[in-house]
């Protein structure tokens, strides 16, 4: 537990081989990632990129073909390495014969909590995720959003120091999403490492400080959110430029949009925007605004996977 990193993978590779044709599929291919203690880390990628396989290797549900996965410096294949983990699977299938409280009791017992602690923590967790009044209802009758919140309570009940969440807000309404986000931010404040696997880019952008994008089983991009989305161009807004000049600038800009007598040009570099300014000033055009722009995570994602 003295490692600087909550998660550390080195050259992690998983090759699935078809039983009959012996055809090989490299689900993840040499993935080396480090997630600092206390970080909120987002794992992104298109469908089939290997995100779920990567998460499963961390939980030892999938055995890597090559490479290593460590949780707080411990080999992830050791049961003890999983003690600090709270996990919420994507397409969870909780046994429907449980009540909400019964399910929490079962999974908390598997995490090693004794009966008296479980009794106390079950009430707290149900309260935290807003399910107290449905504690004794069978979960077969729960809605998808309720199940998701119950799943989160299950992941949190044993006070984990790392949370691995696969699509944590899947099926949850906007209010519920906000609640979940607030709960996670509370855990972040307590120093818990949060690893989120999600396809909801806006959510990851709001929540995470660091991200990695997996594509075709490899890490295509990784880094701090502010570095990945910062300094990607300039937006120049001009009031009614002459048509000939507009056409010329359109050729230099990466995009152009008209609105209410104004024209927005997006330039990818400082040189280009300075050149445009020179032309506009030479023709005495009025500059409405000039500002550096940042990319959205979605733009970063699309650029990365379309390369």
């Amino acid at each position: 537990m003295d490692s600087e990193y909550a998660i550390e993978t080195q050259d992690l590779t998983k090759v699935y081989t078809s039983r009959w044709s012996r055809r090989e599929v490299r689900a993840i291919d040499g993935v080396s990632l480090r997630v600092r203690r206390g970080a909120i880390f987002g794992l992104l990628g298109p469908n089939g990129a290997g995100k779920t396989t990567f998460v499963k290797t961390l939980l030892s549900a999938v055995r890597p073909t090559h490479g290593s996965a460590l949780i707080f410096g411990r080999d992830a294949s050791q049961p003890e390495a999983r003690r600090p983990i709270g996990y919420l699977p994507e397409n969870h299938r909780f046994p429907t014969y449980f009540t909400g409280a019964g399910m929490l009791d079962f999974y908390a017992a598997l995490s090693g909590l004794d009966a008296s602690r479980r009794k106390k923590l079950i009430l707290e967790q149900l309260e935290l995720v807003g399910l107290s009044q449905w504690a004794t209802m069978r979960i077969g009758k729960y809605s998808k959003g309720m199940l998701q919140r119950l799943g989160l309570a299950q992941a949190l009940i044993h006070s984990p120091t790392i949370l691995i969440l696969d699509e944590p807000t899947d099926g949850v309404d906007p209010v519920g999403r906000r609640q979940i986000r607030e709960i996670l931010e509370g855990f972040e404040a307590r120093g818990v490492t949060i690893f989120v696997n999600s396809h909801l880019l806006a959510e990851v952008e709001t929540l995470c400080h660091e991200v990695a994008i997996l594509d075709k089983g490899k890490v295509a991009l990784s880094g701090k959110m502010q570095d990945l989305t910062a300094g990607k161009g300039y937006r120049l807004t001009v009031a009614q430029p002459p048509e000939a000049l507009t056409e010329e600038l359109r050729g230099r800009a990466t995009s152009m949009a008209r609105r209410d007598g104004l024209v927005d040009f997006q330039f990818s570099s400082r040189e280009l925007v300075n050149g445009a300014l020179d032309l506009l000033r030479a023709q005495r055009c009025e500059i409405e605004a000039l500002a550096p722009t940042t990319s959205t995570l979605e733009e970063v994602f699309v650029r990365t996977v379309e390369k």
Binding site: L59, E80, P89, R93, L110, S111, G112
Partner: protein, 272 residues
């Protein structure tokens, strides 16, 4: 604590299956049937008639009736009850391997061996309790009514649970290999069906013409669980107080250990 949680989870899941309740209901019906049967005049009259020949004859006749009932109950448990138990149990392994459920179990600080053995033990416990319920129920009713308390009948609990535990290892192995309750049931029931056929070893040694075919027969006989012989051991023990030998017990136990070991090895290496 963790083991108890795994066992109680299996127990809870088993109780959601109607087939287990069916087995329990059949056991209850059988207990009620004996309770009723021993209250009617025919039985009372029969016992009274036997009584005219003297107390010792009456006791002897009543003991025979009781042993006959014991044998009937043990046969029911061993055949129909066992089929039902195998049918009911076949889904308990694939259900826990369902995507979205197994990953969560594997994310807990437990070894895979622990998870599978907990499941196995829970399943055996369900059948043990049902066997004990029926056997003890009938034993107490007959004991109270006739004054004959023959503890040998109670071995039916042990032998039934033992052979179920052996057959369950096949259910577990097929379950972790193929995730199929239907296939688990088919193969296990097939083992139950071929057991009395393979048990005709001495006859087959005479009928088979070549030495290699006799060797194959012997191999199959010794390798597979002795469901039929264990049933015979139970019945002969109950009815005549005789014991035919340990070979069916240890060879079946060995079969079960090999199957369970293979299941644990497959489960430990499988990706989910």
């Amino acid at each position: 604590m963790v083991t108890l949680a795994l066992i109680s989870d299996t127990f809870r899941e088993a109780l959601t299956r109607k087939i287990f309740w069916g087995l329990f209901a059949l056991s209850t019906l059988m207990i009620l049937f004996f309770l009723f049967l021993l209250q009617i005049d025919i039985v009372e009259g029969g016992v009274a008639t036997v009584g005219r020949f003297g107390g010792s004859v009456r006791t002897m006749q009543a003991a025979q009736v009781v042993r006959g009932v014991y044998a009937g109950v043990a046969t029911f448990l061993y055949t129909f009850g066992m089929f039902l138990a195998v049918f009911a149990s076949s889904g308990l392994i694939p259900s826990v391997l369902e995507p979205g459920r197994i990953e969560l179990l594997l994310s807990k600080p437990l070894s895979r061996t622990h998870i599978l053995l907990g499941r196995y033990a829970g399943n055996v416990l369900v059948v043990l309790l049902n066997s004990a319920y029926l056997v003890l129920g009938v034993w107490i009713i007959l004991g109270v009514k006739t004054g004959i308390w023959s503890p040998i009948f109670l071995i039916a609990i042990a032998t039934t649970t033992f052979i179920f535990a052996v057959l369950l290892t096949v259910v577990v192995l097929i379950g972790v290999l193929f995730d199929s309750a239907a296939l688990s049931t088919m193969i296990t029931v097939a083992l139950m069906i071929i057991s009395p056929i393979l048990a005709q070893t001495s006859l087959m040694m005479r009928l088979l013409s070549s030495e290699w075919s006799r060797d194959v027969w012997r191999l199959l006989y010794y390798a597979f669980p002795k469901v039929w012989e264990l049933g015979r051991i139970t019945l002969e023990g109950i009815q005549y107080g005789t014991f035919v030998g340990f070979m069916p017990i240890w060879s079946s136990a060995l079969f079960g250990m090999v199957m369970l070991g293979a299941a644990l090895a497959v489960f430990a290496r499988r990706d989910f």
